[in-house]
Amino acid sequence: MKSLHPLTWWLWSIALIVTVIRANSALYAALVIAGAALIVWRWAGKFPWSKSFWFSLRLGTFILIVRAVTGVLIGVPIPGTKIIELPIIPLPDWMAGIRIGGVITQERLTSSLHEGLIIVSVIALFGAAVSLTSPHKMLRVLPVMVYEFGVAIVIATSSLPQLVASYSRIKRARILRGDEKPKFKSIALPLLEEALAKSLDLAAAMDSRGYGVSRVRSRYRPIKWRSADTAIFSSGLVLLGLVWTVTS
């Protein structure tokens, strides 16, 4: 898996995102999420960014719940099978057309969940691409023009895991001072200070090592597009073609 081109998984997930939106089916979206999860679980390494997918799933679930709740409570009623009737909260006249509460129908619930699930699968596919690709490798195929962007990526990917390590270190030190429930502020301040200092160090190191000096970068190990890349990318394309013909 090491030799895959950094853009492969990105192209693959973009193709799949298009299919999910085109298919507009909750079942299909759920299948895609499951498939992505399987691939990430099997092939993502043990790098700091590999956990992004699971994080994106959690984020997606949160969005799904918030969307479902607000979608059901607020908005235009959809007629259909009644599940429960809530009292309507009276709103001033100028807010006509919006209502909170009222009859909750099965149709309204499923349509909210359906849209939510598609959003979740889009987020999850992005997460999968991040999980499966080293951002540092990604940096090497990006043009030098995006210099600031490159510096920011390197700093973000290396300072996040550092932040986690520093957090547990500082919290442990607090416990050792006999402070079992340290206040958030008392940890956040030294944590931010440290993160900032380390980021500056890293930026200085990149600068003094000549990053961004030459417009053209040479490559020690040329990043090649291999048959495995073609296979993965075309699997995405085939799926895209299938979905397109089925839905049109």
């Binding site: 290396s158 050792l176 006999g178 200085a204 003094s208 090592r209 000549g210 961004g212 030459s214």
Partner: protein, 537 residues
């Protein structure tokens, strides 16, 4: 090669001049050592060489710095990358990529070096720094010494004319430090590389230096031969203190030179009587302690005792399990098997005030313990936590370092002062045991002797014990009663300091190397053997 003409430097938010009217030049193939107390501007001086100061930090630079004829004012630091390799204090915070090989080629790729040239140079560096077995490893899995070698390798791969190193050995055990320094020494001699190096532990580098830049701290700096600088300097390795104490005609800088001059001392000195302490009750009991991380065993069945009144040093190479053992003694890491008791408490059960009164812990970064906005607030918090009269902690701090102003932010203190503040906070609770994890990283000699005094004073009170993990053999020689030596999670030696330190040349302090086969570890030991009680420091 490097030329400073009338250089002065002031940082934007500070009123203090870091450097003032500094003029010197360094020729090709020279190895120059930069010394000075912490916070005097050693790092600033190093970073001036490739223009990181002031390009990256801001600040006002007067005068001119030229490197190989190029003024650093006119170019960005990156444009000097082919000329200057710079390795920061903490190599792990400067790594940009994921694996050893990618890290080595990062600079060359950025500067668009042709692939065949890159391949040749990478092989060359892998051989030179013995990195070949690591070439495909992820950087995060490397040990401290390996990371340091990689950082130096990634700088050298550009074939720079100048190598700038900021405390390259501060995180390394004596053996790893020796490896790194001998590589640098070889490069100076074989390739005529110009090296500028800042280091606190002079005993490690003094033999290699051609000249020394001594930064006084008030903006003044001197550059001269090592003999001339060290003749009067407070900052000096033990070997120089020995020369001074013995009133030798010449200042010897290498073990060999001083050995030649001290033959009669070795012949005439008498054996120091071993001080036998009365047996004391057990303070810390460790029985069958084991810890593993996944398949890696960090501690294997460790048995050890620490008695009351004892100062025990925990030594061993990077990754030998020292920190794991300390963390389980203070009760933040649970043992997989075995048990530990500290003054009859199981450490994991300690909470709040009982914990503070039982065990005090100084982590590798003392600043982790501090979070208030000023020294005064920090002390007041400690007073409140421990229910003692307000002002007691500050009084304690004044006893340790008199010069600290209560309004200062803890971040603005020097390393030594920050350690003293953390110690004051911990000691204000009157703990019975004090545990320290590598407290001397980045400490200058002055702060170190202060630490030795504090810890000796602490252990002299009845019913106290100190455990300290460290790489610093000179500190151990001065301070510890007993040494426990860990290797790969097992105790390989446990005995009186003098026996353990003299058993292996790599861990012998400088004075002991000079005085071998006589069993003297420190300048004081030697003077005692000659019946001349002097205050050598």
């Amino acid at each position: 090669m490097i030329k400073f003409s009338n250089v002065s430097l002031v940082y934007p938010t500070s009123t203090q001049t870091i450097l003032e009217g500094l003029t010197f030049s360094i020729v090709e193939g020279e190895m120059v050592l930069v010394i000075g107390s912490t916070g005097t501007g050693k790092s600033s001086l190093l970073r001036l060489i490739n223009g990181l100061v002031p390009h990256h930090t801001g600040g006002i630079l007067a005068g001119d710095v030229t490197v190989d004829g190029i003024s650093t004012q006119l170019v960005r630091p990156g444009e000097l990358a082919h000329l200057i390799g710079i390795v920061g204090q903490n190599p792990s915070s400067g790594f940009v990529t994921d694996t050893v090989e990618e890290e080595l080629v990062f600079s060359m790729e950025s500067l668009n070096v042709a692939p065949d040239v890159m391949r040749k140079r990478v092989e060359e560096i892998l051989d030179l720094l013995a990195l070949a077995p690591l070439r495909n490893r992820a950087i995060s899995t490397l040990s401290g010494g390996e990371q340091q070698r990689l950082a130096i390798g990634s700088a050298l791969v550009m074939h720079p004319k100048i190598l700038v190193l900021d405390e390259p050995t501060s995180a390394l055990d004596p053996i790893a430090a020796e490896e790194v320094l001998s590589i640098i020494h070889r490069l100076v001699h074989d390739l005529s590389l110009t090296v500028v190096i800042a280091e606190h532990r002079l005993e490690r580098v003094i033999g290699f230096a051609d000249r020394i830049i001594h930064i006084a701290g008030d903006g003044q700096a001197q550059i001269d031969l090592p003999e001339n600088i060290l003749k009067n300097s407070v900052i000096a390795p033990p070997i120089v203190h020995l020369s001074r104490a013995l009133k030798l005609d010449q200042l010897g800088l290498s073990v060999r030179d001083v050995r030649r001059m001290t033959e009669d001392v070795r012949r005439n000195g008498k054996e120091n009587p071993q001080v036998l302490k009365d047996p004391t009750p057990t303070a810390i009991l460790i029985k069958g302690a084991s810890i593993s991380y996944g398949s890696h065993l960090a501690l294997k069945n460790v048995d050890a005792l620490v008695m009351e009144g004892e100062i025990v040093a925990l030594m061993g190479r990077n990754g030998a399990g020292k920190s794991s053992l300390l963390q389980s003694i203070v009760g933040v890491k649970e043992l997989d098997r075995g048990e530990i008791s500290i003054f009859a408490h199981p450490p994991m059960s300690l909470k709040g005030a009982v914990r503070r009164a039982t065990v005090g812990y100084i982590p590798q970064e003392p600043s982790d313990l501090l979070y208030a906005q000023s020294v005064a607030q920090e002390c007041a918090q400690a007073d409140k936590d421990n229910g003692i009269a307000s002002g007691s902690t500050y009084a304690l701090l004044q006893g340790l370092v008199p010069s600290v102003s209560p309004a200062t932010h803890p971040r603005d203190l020097s390393e030594g002062q920050r350690l003293a503040l953390a110690l004051a906070v911990v000691l204000s609770a009157q703990p019975r045991a004090l545990i320290l994890d590598e407290p001397t990283r980045g400490l200058d000699y002055q702060s170190k002797s202060l630490l030795i005094e504090i810890l000796k004073g602490f252990a002299a009170q009845p019913g106290r014990a100190v455990v300290i993990a460290t790489h610093d053999v000179e500190l151990v020689a001065e301070l510890a009663d007993r040494v426990i030596f860990l290797s790969e999670g097992e105790i390989v030696a446990d005995g009186p300091t003098i026996d353990i330190l003299l058993a292996s040349p790599a861990f012998a302090p400088q004075v002991a190397k000079v005085m071998a086969p006589r069993r003297w570890l420190t300048v004081n030991d030697v003077m005692r053997a000659l019946d001349q009680e002097t205050d050598s420091r």
